[in-house]
């Protein structure tokens, strides 16, 4: 038990550290020989959950000392951007989780809605969004981005730490930010990343939040244990293109089309999302947009 604030702060830093270490472990497990080890990865997700819970409880006690509905900009200034330590070179994917605690079959996109009604869009398996490889367009997934939506369309429910909590690990800026967000948006932004002053409605994703250690029984044949993030040499790119043939691609298309993307990373209750009051972040996943998908195909 932590008694002093100093101890708690230390632990909070540890929690942050643990989150990054755990993510790295999960990522590196995909390229391990022998396939992904279900047991080990399950245990790692427990550490993630515990670290998140601690982090949430620490941050919750902080926000309780501040006003709940503050100006976004002001909050951002106060916001601690915690730099994660260690090398992120191995982290291939933009891990984020949308832990809502409530399963929803549809997306609620609050962006660009003149009547302030959340629009429902066709369900896409949230887990697809978790697979992004920001630096490598050869791979199927694409970058995460922060974008903003007209503030007037933004409505935020009273923050409930049990349901709307996000820690988003941005691989481009190497920053973990804790944000409060009722929802987040997978398809609301076509523009590139704009992290400053961002607030928007994000789609509420379906709670496909299991950490899927790539269930072998639903394996996509051509993606194997998930592409590695590191910059690929020509040799490697050639190798992968050899592995991908048209039949594999058609398998991929059918799987993506049916929404059966649970084999990609998504988080179990041990998700990483913490949402703080007033700040919303939208995450773009071009995978789910037509353009992203096209890019994916073209890469092959």
């Amino acid at each position: 038990a932590q008694n002093t604030f100093g101890e708690m702060m230390e632990c909070a830093f540890d929690a942050q550290n643990l989150i990054s270490i755990s993510l790295r472990k999960i990522q590196s497990s995909r390229t391990q020989r022998g396939g992904i080890k279900l047991h080990k990865n399950l245990l790692v997700t427990y550490v993630l959950r515990n670290a998140r819970q601690f982090y949430m409880s620490k941050n919750l006690s902080q926000t309780q000392r501040t006003h709940q509905y503050e100006d976004v900009a002001a909050v951002r200034e106060k916001q601690e951007y915690l730099e994660l330590t260690g090398s992120f070179k191995e982290l291939a994917d933009d891990f984020y989780c949308n832990f809502t605690g409530v399963e929803s079959d549809t997306w609620h996109c609050g962006a660009h809605q003149p009547n302030d009604q959340p629009a429902e869009v066709a369900h896409q398996d949230a887990s697809a969004c978790a697979m992004v490889s920001p630096s490598d367009s050869d791979l199927m997934v694409s970058e995460a981005c922060w974008s903003c939506v007209d503030k007037s369309s933004w409505e935020l429910p009273i923050p409930n730490t049990q349901t709307n909590q996000k820690t988003v690990l941005d691989l481009d800026t190497h920053v973990v930010t804790t944000v409060t967000n009722g929802y987040f948006h997978s398809d609301c932004c076509a523009q590139p990343k704009q992290p400053q002053g961002a607030q928007c409605y994000a789609k509420k994703r379906k709670m496909d939040t299991s950490y899927h250690i790539v269930d072998p029984e639903f394996y996509l044949p051509d993606f194997g244990p998930v592409p590695c993030k590191r910059m690929r040499t020509d040799d490697e790119s050639n190798l992968d293109s050899d592995q991908l043939d048209s039949s594999n691609i058609s398998n991929l298309i059918s799987v993506l089309g049916s929404g059966g993307l649970s084999e990609f990373v998504s988080w179990q209750q041990t998700d990483l999302e913490q949402i703080f009051a007033t700040q919303t972040i939208c995450l773009k996943h071009t995978l789910l947009t037509g353009s992203g998908w096209t890019r994916a195909i073209e890469a092959f």
């Binding site: 038990a1 540890d14 929690a15 643990l18 270490i21 472990k25 020989r33 022998g34 396939g35 080890k37 279900l38 047991h39 080990k40 399950l42 245990l43 427990y46 550490v47 515990n50 670290a51 601690f54 496909d208 939040t209 299991s210 950490y211 899927h212 269930d215 072998p216 029984e217 394996y219 044949p221 051509d222 993606f223 194997g224 244990p225 592995q243 649970s262 998504s266 179990q268």
Partner: protein
Amino acid sequence: SLAGPGGDMQWCFSQVKGAIDDDVAEADIISTVEFNHTGELLATGDKGGRVVIFQQEIENKNPPQFRSEYNVYSTFQSHEPEFDYLKSLEIEEKINKIRWLPQKNAAQFLLSTNDKTIKLWKISERDKRPEGYNLKEEDGRYKDPNTITSLRVPVLIPMDLMVEASPRRVFANAHTYHINSISVNSDNETYLSADDLRINLWHLEITDRSFNIVDIKPANMEELTEVITAAEFHPHQCNTFVYSSSKGTIRLCDMRASALCDKHSKLFEEPEDPSNRSFFSEIISSISDVKFSHNGRYMMTRDYLSVKIWDLNMENRPVETYQVHEYLRSKLCSLYENDCIFDKFECCWNGNDSVVMTGSYNNFFRMFDRGHRRDVTLEASRENSKPMQVLKPRKVCAGGKRKKDEISVDSLDFNKKILHTAWHPQDNIIAVATTNNLYIFQDKVI
């Protein structure tokens, strides 16, 4: 027990097998150690898919001068690396477990398994060869039949002993997840194999089908909260087996109850001590090994920091708990970072169930004498490898002033880990595997 006539029992070095140099080839990393039912044979499996069997040769049968030596009996490549093209996955050739079958005839049989495939191997001796063929020369060339003027009966003549290992059965394609355990039933006809989510029952003669007897895979993998970590048949009751989980529970199942043993007959679980709660509570409570006692009344489980003995008649808590290396509790964060916290230590009983043994770091291993409530820490190292050298007990200094001969926690070498140990079924002979060496120790001759 650990106490001899003069007080504490003493162990001395007998032999060490394996390469001497410090540069360890990954293929030589020992991954399993197992005595057969008489203790005459000792098998090891390694990461390279090889099995090496040692045979005991007794130099002096008369106690107390009883001395024996284990020498290489047979070496064979059990498993090769495979590639599953459909799933784009490489299947490691590492031998996860070896289990001997009780001997029925002149040949010996063992089961060896990697992540996906179990094989039944027959190890047989050949010490005679035929000589005096009519149609063949000694070197095998065929004779011109026209030169044969008489007939003779070929005879068997002695030859240098040759030990042959041949795969008699291959049990494949029954496991989607990684196999962690195999266990031969006391009926000597069936055995079980367990992976992360399922347990299958096989007949030793039948390779093209197995029965699924436990399936804990949830309909939605997002709901997965625990995996199977080890499984074993009861030593006498052929209908009973146990399996342990990553959540620290053990389930005892009765195959007579139903075909699918998803409902346990007994659930063994100790409530967690809330004062010990940490980020890593789930990891350190995951059970890495479960072993029935020889008498079938108890079972032992190993989790990261402790060994627990359970009475099969008491489900709510273990009857005994032994701390293996409690001083690591404050280091869990570092051990998580360097992956050591995921190490899967095994444990074993001695022949009369009075002592249990398990490994630790720095090439230390621990013995717990249940009757006398004594424990000892010993070290397997090349420095203590003179013939018959007595092993000196080791002590780890957890904090405060370090006494002479004590080792501080920060000096422990976490790359030197003893995960696999085995105890001779009858005698006080133990086999202890360091990374790539196999140490054999015997109790001291007075």
